[in-house]
Symmetry: C2
């Protein structure tokens, strides 16, 4: 299973992190894990998920998707 | 147009507030305004919206719905 890491801007606290995590889990049920790094402004997603689906979920939750992180 | 105010726990910053607002707007398109009071832990909704719809949207966004506020 591959992990994909994305930049997500606008997350500033644990409430934001939880909100982004739930939005991604809702939009991409096959995702097995979502890990938010508030300091780095990244979200790491484990499992099969299209980047476009993640982007839509993040945007819908009120945060800014910044594409794949290294 | 009536305003309805609800208790919502778990919002700690502007990112949370935005996330809750977007979740409510998405779930209840006839809502005309959503105002979050972080200090009070309340969300005021203007326009026609069932409390159950607001509750579901808040819960799905990762926050805790606490019913109608005075």
């Amino acid at each position: 299973m591959t992990d994909s890491r994305y930049h997500v801007a606008g997350m500033t606290c644990g409430g934001c992190a939880r909100s982004v995590e739930l939005a991604i889990r809702e939009a991409a049920p096959s995702v097995t894990a979502v890990t938010v790094d508030l300091e780095a402004g990244t979200v790491t997603v484990s499992g099969a998920a299209e980047a476009a689906v993640i982007e839509q979920a993040v945007d819908d939750a009120g945060f800014t998707f910044g594409g794949r992180a290294a």
